[in-house]
Amino acid sequence: MFRKIPWFKFSSPPNFYWLADRLTPWLWGGAAILGIMGLYVGFFVAPPDYQQGDSYRIMFIHVPTAWMGMFIYLLIALYSVIFLTWRIKMADVMAIALAPTGALMTFLSLWTGALWGAPTWGTYWVWDARLTSTLILLFLYLGYMALHAAVDDREKGARAASLLALVGVVNVPIIYFSVEWWHSLHQGMSVTLTDAPSMAASMFAAMLLMTGACWLYSAAIALRRAQVEALEREAGNPWVQDELLGAEEGGDAATAAEASGDLQREVRS
């Protein structure tokens, strides 16, 4: 029974678990290296902006977190399509594992946007188009997670939340467009965040490095969270026993079963 599980398939939980175990250290390491490089370039190479002084350095985390917030929502929608079409359980595990990190990134983007806005506009919050649509994105994340958790039957909750993610992702461009439009009609701010005038190459490099760091960090966290989810959901399966007990007892579940069979024969005779 144990050997019949198609190990070659990436979507099978044990294989996923194994793969995630091997990937995460590299992702953590990469995130740390890129982060340190990004911070170095951002603080010690990039010159101060002639208009905004040093406050623009917030951009190096504001823009990457905003991108990640957006990107992770798209990923969730993608995994939802996979889950709804092929009923691959790991797709939903990945989607729900990504959601908290996506929400965190979106929140950080709002937070840094507010702190950047304070010296630039003289107030922490303006109804800037980008901040407003990011706020709505945060609500979409919260709705997705709330619906996923609200349904008692996990499978049903997963399907409902996946459908919601799809509806959301169809709406996201419409929301962005309409908010942008709304903002331009109501005589928007003349200075927009992220439009650092004549962005120097070093600024751009720092932003890219930090984006890479955030990307690797999110991947590592999501894989780890998906591992925990998979363990909890598949608690009764042999591969979980193998994963948890195998290491300490020096044998896998199959040999343990054989051993208990041996024991049985021994006792009988």
């Binding site: 619906l147 409902a160 459908l163 929301i175 908010v179």
Partner: protein, 222 residues
């Protein structure tokens, strides 16, 4: 099949009309929310005029949200929804007809009342016409989007609050386009762009939203 759907439409409308109470509650809710704003903001017509379109639209949004619980709720509880899912016609069409009935009996009263409320907030002439027109195009969209949320939260504890969390962010474009059109007219511009975009949204929503609703209902009934 057309006959069946027509029968469904008639049934839904007459059930809502029979439960006069519910329909009237939603309409009263719409009026009361609107009248709360002058009490909160102050009676100066200048200020009220500024916020008028937004107030009427937000009130319509909330009224639509309040009314949605009944859209599938009763049919779900008494088992009719299962029967509807077993009708020999696509569930998406059934959903579309139910949304249409919901809009005819609850959206239309909001549209009809809106000029009155707009007038009380200091809007006049063309602005009132555009307000009503934007609601004509916008409230079906509210019902369509809302139906998805209503279907997804069917039978959940605390479904109402969750439904608000799911739906309200999705209402944003409709709100922006609807009230924006009226604001345009207030500043002497034309509202064509807004209204045609609302129409475009509706044209997109009519075929797509029922599919999502049908999917959600299948999940809930499973």
């Amino acid at each position: 099949m057309g006959k069946m759907l027509w029968a469904l439409l008639k049934r839904d409308v007459s059930l809502i009309v029979m439960r006069r109470q519910d329909g009237l509650t939603v309409v009263a809710f719409f009026v009361i929310v609107t009248t709360l704003f002058p009490l909160g903001v102050g009676p100066e017509l200048e200020i009220l005029r500024e916020v008028g379109p937004g107030v009427v639209w937000v009130a319509a949004l909330l009224a639509s949200l309040v009314s949605l619980e009944r859209l599938f709720g009763d049919d779900y509880r008494d088992g009719t929804l299962e029967q509807l899912a077993l009708l020999p016609c696509p569930l998406a069409l059934v959903a579309l007809v139910k949304v249409a009935a919901h809009w005819v009996s609850l959206g239309v009263p909001l549209v009809l009342l809106s000029p009155l409320l707009g007038y009380s907030l200091g809007l006049e002439g063309m602005e009132l016409v555009i307000l009503a027109l934007s609601l004509v195009l916008g409230t079906p969209m509210l019902s369509l989007i809302g139906a998805v949320g209503a279907a997804l939260t069917l039978g959940l504890r605390g479904g109402g609050a969750l439904m608000a969390l799911l739906i309200l962010p999705l209402y944003v474009p409709v709100l922006i386009l609807g009230s924006g059109g009226v604001v345009e007219v207030m500043y002497g511009e034309a509202a064509h762009a807004h209204l045609s975009l609302l129409g475009a949204l509706l044209a997109l929503g009519v075929p797509l939203a029922p599919l999502a609703v049908a999917g959600a209902l299948r999940i809930v009934l499973d």
